[in-house]
């Protein structure tokens, strides 16, 4: 049982390293960074309480929002998904990503106190 899980994971990792284009790996690294930041913020909140609750929320929402936008970007620029996004070129996806981030940042800064 454990061997099948382990083998699935190692297989997955191999395939990932070999067949994913570099561009996507860059985005994946960014997503991992966002994930870790969010998780650490959540851990801090669990440890010391929610005193400036608004600050915690804005930081956490920032991470969650950025992660979601990053995922959207990754989906849209993946050449394998080109069929699903015929009218959206990678440049367009990036522009959308930037615009959505601007809105997210305005909200987060407003809320951070």
């Amino acid at each position: 049982m454990s061997t099948s899980v382990f083998s699935v994971i190692s297989r997955f990792l191999d395939e990932y390293v070999s067949s994913t284009p570099n561009k996507l790996k860059v985005v994946d690294a960014y997503l991992l960074y966002i994930l870790l930041t969010g998780a650490l913020q959540f851990l801090y909140c669990l440890l010391v309480g929610t005193f400036p609750f608004n600050s915690f929320l804005s930081g956490f929402i920032s991470c969650v929002g950025a992660f979601i936008l990053g995922v959207c970007l990754r989906i849209q620029i993946n050449p394998q998904n080109k069929g699903d996004f015929l009218s959206i070129s990678p440049e367009r996806a990036f522009a959308d990503f930037l615009f959505a981030h601007t809105v997210l940042h305005v909200v987060v800064i407003n809320f951070i106190g």
């Binding site: 690294a29 991992l32 870790l36």
Partner: protein
């Protein structure tokens, strides 16, 4: 006997049914003195001298120095002015031994003023001057001139002067038309609330109207067409003002007062009691004063009590009883009919002169008495009635020799009777209170003693039931009985006994606080909001570093992956795009530190649209490059 009763009843109905109006105001002796002193002002000119001299003479007084007054009149007389002649002539008539010299020119001047072309005032003044100076007046000419003027000047003051002029003419003149004016003028009076009757022109006009109407009516010996109620209302109006604004107003009030007190037809009469209208055994006689509007006593009248009935029971106590006159005061010994204490309504009639107006009066009279407390019995009763009661009798005003003890198993009881000293009957006064006063703590509790159906007052104190009123504080309480009423001459505050009350000790408050309501209360200290507990700085700093560490990891990964900026084309649009984007991120930081949302949105709109335009260009170039290289 029955006939007397019926007659009494009939008269009672008549008296009550008439409910005659009585004047609400008149001039008391103090008011008359004030009026006289107000009129007695030093002369400034002929008109004010006229008001002073003639006004005082109407009130029956005279100026202090008649010679000086006469001299003043002569020196200020202007022989060419009708007004001046009028004032001087009238005033000189009021002074004794003052003669104004008259010449033919003066007479001609005055006679010439009597015509249709002069104003009513001029006609009035010239006729009055002629009459006062003893010169002949052509009455018929005057009447025709006045009648002609009435049609042209029909305001109230002009018609009043017409009436006054007519009263100086000969009695043979045809004055029918002028007499009708009295009734017309009376119709113009305003009724205020059924109490006052006056002209809208004011008090002075009303007073002058009264003077003129009675002067003319007396002159022609015809009763003025004024109803009794109207006369009473006029009296109320004219004498309602007790301080006067001007000499002319004071003069008009004095003239009206003189008219009301000595005309041939209507004499309003004032009935008032001497002192408070109270009778008792010590003061059994009700004394009434009968005066006219100037508070001068009317001695040639007789006063009769039509009926006196008790207000509470409406039963007639006395009827058809005359008052006896003594030194100008009318007296009646009411206590002779042995009335019970309380309030009575007296219906009094003043007769003796057919001119009397407002001579039926209703008076409220109080009969007071003295109370005595009898059969005061105090006892301590056990609740379960197993131990017999011991009753102690206490005589007023002494105090019980021993104190009474009552604890929660016993009741303290008190019973007494209140008796009218003079009649022996039972009384139920308005206030019968039992007050218990704790001398040590200053606490007092008051209860009401109620009579039973035999008019025996009973008070019972259930110690257990009433403990909340006493705050369960045990101790010695002084017991007082308070009896009071408006008709009692001797209210009672009697310390009857001392009562020791025992409450269950555990219920008593530990600190016996005197019930002080009005001392400063403890200060309320405002508690500011405590800041929330923050974690220690070490923890926060550690976590700040931890949260920033994934950034390091990201950079390492990117380098590992080979991400680079070697493809960066230094085209203007891409440079500008990056600058614009950096500006937007910088704006975020400034928003966090300095700005508010509106300013940020404004700057964001500017930089955002710029960045969008150049970014669009840059991405288009990239797309072209990508498609070209494919």
């Amino acid at each position: 006997m029955a006939l007397n009763g019926m007659l009494g009843l009939f008269l009672l109905t008549v008296a009550l049914g008439a409910q005659a109006l009585t004047p609400s105001h008149h001039l008391s002796a103090a008011d008359v003195a004030r009026l006289k002193s107000f009129l007695n002002q030093p002369y400034t000119e002929l008109e004010s001298a006229y008001y002073t001299i003639v006004g005082l003479s109407k009130l029956g007084a005279s100026v202090s120095d008649e010679k000086a007054a006469c001299q003043f009149l002569k020196s200020h007389l202007d022989l060419s002015s009708i007004d001046s002649l009028f004032f001087a002539a009238e005033a000189s008539q009021a002074l004794s031994g003052c003669e104004i010299p008259v010449s033919n020119e003066t007479r001609d001047l005055l006679l010439a003023a009597v015509s249709e072309d002069s104003t009513v005032t001029q006609i009035h003044r010239s006729v009055s001057a002629l009459s006062s100076l003893g010169l002949p007046v052509a009455s018929q000419e005057v009447v025709s001139a006045l009648v002609a003027r009435i049609t042209k000047e029909d305001n109230v003051l002009a018609i009043i002067q017409v009436l006054q002029t007519a009263s100086r003419l000969s009695q043979q003149a045809e004055m029918g038309g002028i007499l009708e004016e009295i009734e017309d003028l009376a119709a113009r009076l305003d009724d205020l609330g059924g109490v006052y009757l006056q002209f809208e022109e004011g008090l002075e006009a009303t007073a002058l109207f009264v003077t003129a109407a009675y002067a003319l009516s007396d002159h022609v010996d015809m009763e003025p067409p004024l109803k009794e109620d109207q006369v009473i209302q006029l009296v109320s109006s004219i004498f309602s003002k007790k301080s006067w604004d001007s000499l002319s107003e004071a003069f008009s009030v004095a003239s009206a007062a003189a008219a009301f007190s000595s005309n041939r037809f209507h004499i309003p009469v004032m009935v008032s009691s001497q002192g408070p209208a109270t009778v008792s055994h010590r003061q059994p006689v009700l004394q009434l004063q009968i005066t006219d509007v100037l508070s001068q006593p009317l001695n040639s009248v007789s006063v009769q009590l039509d009926s006196a009935h008790a207000l509470a029971s409406k039963s007639v106590v006395l009827s058809q009883e005359p008052f006896t006159q003594r030194d100008g005061i009318f007296e009646l010994n009411f206590m002779a009919s042995q009335p019970a204490s309380g309030y009575y309504q007296f219906s009094v009639t003043v007769t003796g002169d057919s001119r009397l107006v407002a001579n039926h009066v209703e008076l409220k009279v109080k009969v007071s008495t003295e109370v005595s407390i009898t059969n005061m019995d105090l006892s301590v009763v056990d609740k379960d009635q197993s131990i017999g009661t011991k009753t102690t009798r206490v005589e007023y005003p002494s105090k019980a020799k021993t104190s009474f003890t009552a604890d929660s198993h016993q009741n303290f009881a008190m019973s007494f009777q209140l008796v009218d000293v003079n009649s022996g009957g039972e009384l139920t006064p308005h206030q019968t209170f039992v007050r218990l006063h704790n001398q040590k703590t200053g606490q007092e509790v008051v209860f009401v003693a109620e009579p039973d159906n035999k008019n025996v007052y009973k008070f019972e104190l259930d110690t257990a039931e009433r403990k909340s009123e006493f705050d369960s504080i045990s101790g010695t309480y002084a017991l007082y009985l308070i009896v009071g009423d408006a008709t009692l001459e001797n209210p009672v505050l009697w310390n009857v006994a001392d009562v020791v009350l025992k409450f269950l000790d555990e219920e008593a408050p530990s600190v016996i606080q005197s019930k002080t309501l009005y001392v400063p209360k403890p200060e309320i200290k405002h508690l500011f909001r405590e800041p929330e507990k923050k974690p220690p700085t070490v923890v926060s700093s550690t976590f700040t570093a931890l949260v920033l560490s994934p950034l390091l990891l990201l950079l390492i990964l990117w380098v590992r992956l080979g991400a680079n900026i070697s493809n960066f084309s230094f085209s203007p649009s891409s440079v500008l795009f990056h600058l614009g984007h950096a500006a937007m991120l910088g704006l975020m930081y400034i928003y966090w530190t300095h700005l508010d949302m509106f300013q940020t949105l404004k700057y964001l709109a500017i930089s955002g649209s710029f960045t969008f335009l150049v970014g669009n260009r840059m991405l288009a170039q990239k797309a072209v490059k990508r498609l070209g290289s494919k």
